[in-house]
Symmetry: D2
Subunit: 344 residues, 4 copies
């Protein structure tokens, strides 16, 4: 029953808090760090944190806190992790682990050296559909896996820092590709080594330096192929689909836009539909229970159970590091136009 | 944080236990009653109950128990409820509340007289999709509700007692129609009075006395119409769909057979797909997370929160009684071929 | 290779003409009748008719014409049919055949007496999906048919006369139910006698005398049950769905709103989506090829082939008469609230 | 009203003949060539050809024939085209035009030199859904096109020659990729030049020399990207899906496995479901009208109208040549692992 400090009070921090408090209902967020006093206070009020601070280290070092949840922009993950190591506190970090594999590797080495519990919060390998599908794959229902594709596209992120290459570390490849790469890797087998990557990336629409659309192929040592399709230019909502082909079967997962709930409305009353929905009239496709359907609940259950049982969670910093290494190869490939090796 | 006694150790008892233990993970089933020592023992072992008994009253009266969960065949609900009243213990009962409205009314009057907490475990008005949809309806996205249809059909129940009119109290109307009626009633408005019912019912296929297929219309005092379609003869799995029409919009819910997870397999390895799936090769449509998608998690969260907060849950014995009254009218109509009044 | 006279130049006349000229491309509409000279002329221009008139009998009697296509409001079908009989010309009539079974019976007796070719233009039992499905049913893929449901709902008709009880003869039961009844009857078997009907009907929304929403059950002599769901109050487009249950299988047909073509648009450029679509932004579900997907092509191919081969088409005035008899029973039932016999 | 000679009497020859005779019903196949007398005779009998021969040139030269339809294995297209040129007969060829761009270019130059009508039978840019979608794209509903993906996968071809690299000229890239490339090119704009191609290809499952799975990216001069996904190892039927993204919208097309007709059967009676369906029990997804839904009808209507009106059809040998040039680049890329220029 970990006592948590939340770093950050933005979009994902609130999603995490809703899940942490709602799911097991015995876990507590005791402390929250945010830059501005009002944000920290508002978050503490809403989620019942007994402590709020604008000093990150104070939140981490708080004596009642035994696990840190990092929900900050990408460029702050490393500093936050280093403070957790310094104070010997368990840590879980939102995706991506680092902006680069070098950053991720430093974090991985630090937590290993510090001997602290570490979890990588890749929620999309914890969605109920993914877990069910993975189970079928592992039972052999699809035979040998030949190809695993994951697609995440939407009309673009909500906060300014995403659009700043320095803070974000990349565009949609880093922001969305990290999900896709880990999904495909999980279906193919986390013990199979990714070998090389070919990637096309372009800034087709948005007035930014980073890429807003990319497609990549990841070759694994056993001949299986992973594929990611990511974009910040998609129109129509949040498109989250996976496909897997094996010698004995096929899997199609639609996590968001077509899940069995369809609504037409002329527009009265329907205010919030779901994450990144583009309109609130006409045919709409709300998701029943985003926290559960996007995997947050099963993710935190696994992380907390692991913490309590003294084992590693399903996804650790090592997985985050592998993802960063694959994405680094993708960025190199987009520039060199060559298949680039995955350096691990 | 209620301490629960489970009455019954069959199909629904296990679903309930999985949800109760899995969801909030602080609730406990301390006692279990089952007819046979081995069944009670096996259930206690699996779900960590400290006490197991073949005497129903002993389970109910157990000093550490403060809430009873009735998961017994329909003809045993009343006796179990009366014992809860006798011992002044909170009670929640699986659907249908009674075999008839008369039975349901006696239970309702008994719990009111005993002044005990009572919950009616209608999980299908707690599915994530239903809750999201109801929210839209209550926000006015569909305007005035004109029609609400709910359909539940599958190839037939798993236990012998369902097929016995004495024990079950009816066929698919009672078994499945209770869900459909409460779903439609919830969309139309639980404060709107159901007035009369027209129902067709037939035993088309199965070698039983009870009906295996029925269609009914329920007229409400505001002119809205509810519809149920139920069958134990459907081929293809468990068909759980709702539709709602309003002056400003339309809602389609598919809870089971088409929810965004599709799998083709030649047949190796895929052993369990989902409740009442008819095959394990070819195109299959598994559900990601049955406990959550069928509403059990949100249902128990509401019931336990209500219990702890000293308020009534969303669904009480009164709702179960209204459902029984509507179904009684349906049975009469199937015989008389007339629109039959709902007697409340 | 029939030479056709088209009576009427409205909505369905144009659909028919597009199909007649587009499909076999050897059939010709030589004459057109319409009340106003300009309408007749415009139609003749567009579809290459060599003759246009504002006198119905002149069009029918035209020496080059050997087949009449009736595309007039419901109250004019009988008079037009009688003129065809008088002139001994083959006739095909849009649905419904008559406003009542009495009207339909007079038409049936007249064409039989005159010995002329007669076709009933029920396009929805000629859609490619229906034909494929019927084939499966007739091959036994579904076993014995237990239930066949057809649903047609949309936001309401386009022309004034539909809303006038005298001209139209009824509301959505007659206008849309005629399709549904014949679809269900075809799946159950056209040689099986419909016995009695129970129907609920209401004017829930529109400021009209006729019903704008109805649900009906049709019992067949072999115990099978047909169901129709019709409405002029549905929001979201044109909803055309059929479902069939048999002892060995299940069939779901979606003819319009979900056929595999999905488009999201912010709204530039998409002017016409499809019949009765309610908006042209957001998620839209256009139909690829309405003429073909709604059955017009296969219908006229059957009718013309039948004419050329001297056989009856799949659907004749007799079928139209049976449909009217079932709908008459439905109207009686909506008033008496009783199961009403089908009088044939 | 062309008089046609059919070269070949196999799978596609029969599909073509069904469409040619069924659609306009005024077109005639007067002659058929096949290697074996019995095959030619059987085809002639079935499709009412007055002439059947085992000598290709005789069929082409037949005085009543004015248009040749080439439905032979890929390695025979060139020789057949040359004979059409020699005899000055109009020609239409199934896909792919050649096994290589060099072959295709020789055919293109020959028909241009001979001045004969030439059509490239790419049916998938004539499907009703494609035509409707293209119309929306051309009206601007999607804004500027950014990406167009086409996927065609199935469990593998039906005839031996497909598996022989010499006769077929390639594996699934040539066999299926030719469709995908032309679909994407049509959405992006046939006047936009394809610049370079990156392709991954592998023989993952089948015991053949040629590739059985491939994914390719085609960059166009305006920055748009085409994508093809092709395989002979897919399990579950024939997967035919397209997706298009533009600055203002999104398009999803499913041409085959999910088109609104769904059937569950325990297995009695359902013999033929649709092309490449893998089973005939469980959940099946038949296509209503393959000839129409796969584009054959609209394709031949365009080709014959073009022939009669003395204009070029929508798809000519030039288009077939461009497709071959793109696929040549894909094959080079699969070997060199580089982006390879499209040489036109
Ligand atoms: N599904 C997912 O796993 C998922 C979804 C969204 C975001 N994320 C990740 O979560 C992280 C945060 O993203 P978000 O969407 O919550 O962003 P956000 O902009 O909504 O919130 C960011 C938070 O960090 C704080 N912050 C910003 N700059 C800061 C600075 N310089 N110093 C200290 N605090 C600062 C903000 O005040 C805010 O509380 C990112 O790493 C992102 O990739 C993950
Ligand atoms: N979604 C739902 O809400 C849902 C689903 C299924 C069943 N149910 C309801 O749950 C109840 C039990 O159904 P089930 O499916 O679990 O049935 P089941 O046959 O699987 O289990 C019934 C349990 O009751 C016990 N039992 C049977 N006869 C008994 C007797 N005479 N005395 C004492 N115990 C006896 C059995 O041993 C078993 O433990 C029914 O009321 C049913 O309607 C609800
Ligand atoms: N799927 C179908 O089969 C289908 C679809 C729509 C309509 N219909 C049927 O087609 C018929 C016509 O419907 P519509 O939708 O084309 O209607 P419409 O109003 O669009 O056209 C009716 C035509 O009849 C003419 N007309 C109207 N009143 C007249 C009068 N008093 N005398 C002479 N001509 C008159 C009009 O000028 C017009 O040409 C109806 O019977 C309707 O039920 C069938
Ligand atoms: N959708 C489409 O457009 C589509 C679909 C399938 C095939 N095709 C194309 O059609 C062509 C034929 O394919 P198919 O599927 O009909 O193959 P098939 O094997 O079914 O038929 C091939 C025909 O060619 C004849 N043939 C084979 N070898 C021959 C030889 N050496 N000399 C003379 N005749 C010979 C065969 O007897 C047979 O009549 C191929 O180019 C293929 O790519 C197109």
């Amino acid at each position: 029953m970990p006592q948590i400090a939340m770093l950050g009070s933005g979009f994902i921090a609130r999603f995490y808090a809703d899940s942490i408090l709602g799911q097991r209902s015995r876990d507590k967020i005791v402390s929250v760090y945010s830059r501005r006093t009002e944000s920290a206070g508002a978050f503490a009020m809403k989620y019942g944190c007994v402590h709020a601070t604008t000093d990150m280290e104070v939140a981490i070092a708080h004596p009642e806190v035994d696990m840190i949840c990092i929900a900050l922009p990408n460029d702050l993950h490393e500093a936050a992790v280093m403070l957790c190591c310094k104070h010997g506190k368990a840590v879980m970090t939102t995706k991506p682990l680092g902006r680069t594999a070098a950053e991720a590797r430093r974090m991985l080495e630090a937590v290993e050296k510090a001997g602290i519990f570490n979890g990588y919060l890749e929620d999309l390998v914890y969605t109920p559909k993914f877990l069910k599908a993975l189970d079928s794959v592992q039972n052999g229902a699809l035979g040998r896996i030949l190809w695993a594709k994951s697609r995440e596209t939407h009309p673009g992120p909500h906060s300014d820092w995403f659009w700043d290459l320095e803070h974000a570390g990349g565009g949609c490849i880093l922001d969305l590709g990290c999900h896709c790469v880990e999904i495909a890797r999980s279906f193919i087998g986390k013990d199979i080594r990714p070998v090389e990557v070919m990637c096309w990336a372009e800034t087709q629409v948005k007035p930014i330096e980073a890429e807003d659309h990319a497609i990549g192929l990841v070759k694994y040592e056993n001949g299986a192929i992973g594929q990611f399709e990511v974009s910040w230019t998609f129109r129509g909502g949040l498109d989250l689909r996976d496909e897997v082909m094996g010698t004995e079967g096929t899997l199609w997962i639609n996590n968001f836009l077509r899940t069995g709930l369809e609504m037409f409305t002329t527009g009265k009353g329907a205010d919030y539909v779901s994450e990144k929905a583009e309109s609130n009239t006409g045919w709409l496709f709300p998701v029943g229970d985003e926290l559960n359907d996007l995997g947050y609940n099963h993710m935190f259950t696994d992380v907390f159970n692991a913490f309590e049982q003294g084992r590693a969670p399903r996804e650790t910093f090592y997985d985050g590091y592998v993802v960063n290494a694959i994405l680094d190869a993708a960025y190199r490939s987009a520039r060199t136009k060559l298949w680039e090796p995955v350096v691990l």
